[in-house]
Amino acid sequence: MNEIVEFLVSAFILVGAVFALVGSIGLVRLSDFYLRLHGPTKASTLGVGGTILGSLLFFSWQERALQLQEVLIVLFLFITAPVSAHMLAKAAMHRNLKRREDTRGGPWKQ
């Protein structure tokens, strides 16, 4: 396989993996539910995005034709991820979960 392609594929996968890792670290380190919600949204955008770009490039090169199935993964992820994050946040507010004391503002009463 051409070295340049190999290098690019590795770079994309590494970038994706690093951001997925940072997202997971955030999940562990951050202190309340709302803050933790931010970790997975990162992992699901750049983390998956990078990995998928690498995969797309690899298989397009191997098959000598543009493979676009991966684009579908990104598309469906981008449609569904915000909805689940929204529902999680709503559920958290409904149950009145604890927030970090220095959080500015707060959920409204409805």
Binding site: F19, V22, G23, I25, G26, R29, L30, S31, D32, Y34, L35, L37, H38, G39, T41, K42, T45, L46, G49, L68, Q69, V71, L72, F78, I79, A81, P82, V83, A85, H86, A89, K90, M93, R99, R100, D102, T103, R104, G105, G106, P107, W108, Q110
Partner: protein, 161 residues
């Protein structure tokens, strides 16, 4: 035309999805075409009034801007997460909405959630305010202004609502 294809863009999207999933062949092209016509017809009553797309180039521009923001915001948030957690200034921010259409509001809320550092948490019952949780807020008003200018205004122009 509108009787057979109530949502032409949705039909196109379904057909393209089918072709991408199955690889190109004439059989699948035909089957995909049937599905692209039947599925929107069958689910028609579940859809809210989707506004007409008025400005396609603006939509492309919007998608590019969002992708760029996801990229840059990811770096910024990664640094925030790896830094000392005490330095974060989390907060709930209320964003007054100019958009009135439900579909456009959904797109705005999704965009806000996709860009790292902000998650849209709730919409007020009168659909006039969006509650956002942010990881690190320096200046609430600046943040609101930025979201309005970068995401809400283009969406307003794209759908003209």
């Amino acid at each position: 035309m509108s009787r057979v294809l109530p949502f032409p863009l949705l039909s196109l999207f379904l057909w393209a999805t089918w072709m991408l999933l199955n690889g190109f062949s004439w059989g699948h092209a035909l089957l995909g075409l049937v599905l692209a016509v039947v599925l929107p017809l069958g689910t028609q009553s579940f859809w809210p009034n989707v506004p007409r797309l008025r400005n396609f180039p603006k939509l492309v521009r919007f998608v590019l801007v969002v992708h760029w923001d996801i990229l840059t915001a990811n770096m910024a948030v990664a640094i925030l997460i790896l830094g000392p957690p005490r330095r974060l200034r989390p907060g709930f921010v209320e964003l007054p909405l100019d958009l009135t259409d439900e579909f456009a509001i959904t797109l705005l809320a999704s965009t806000i959630s996709l860009t790292p550092g902000t998650v849209s948490a709730d919409v007020s019952e009168d659909r006039r305010t969006l509650l956002i949780h942010a990881l690190d807020v320096d200046d609430q008003d600046a943040m609101i202004r930025q979201i309005k200018q970068r995401y809400e205004r283009p969406l307003k122009e794209i759908f003209e609502c």
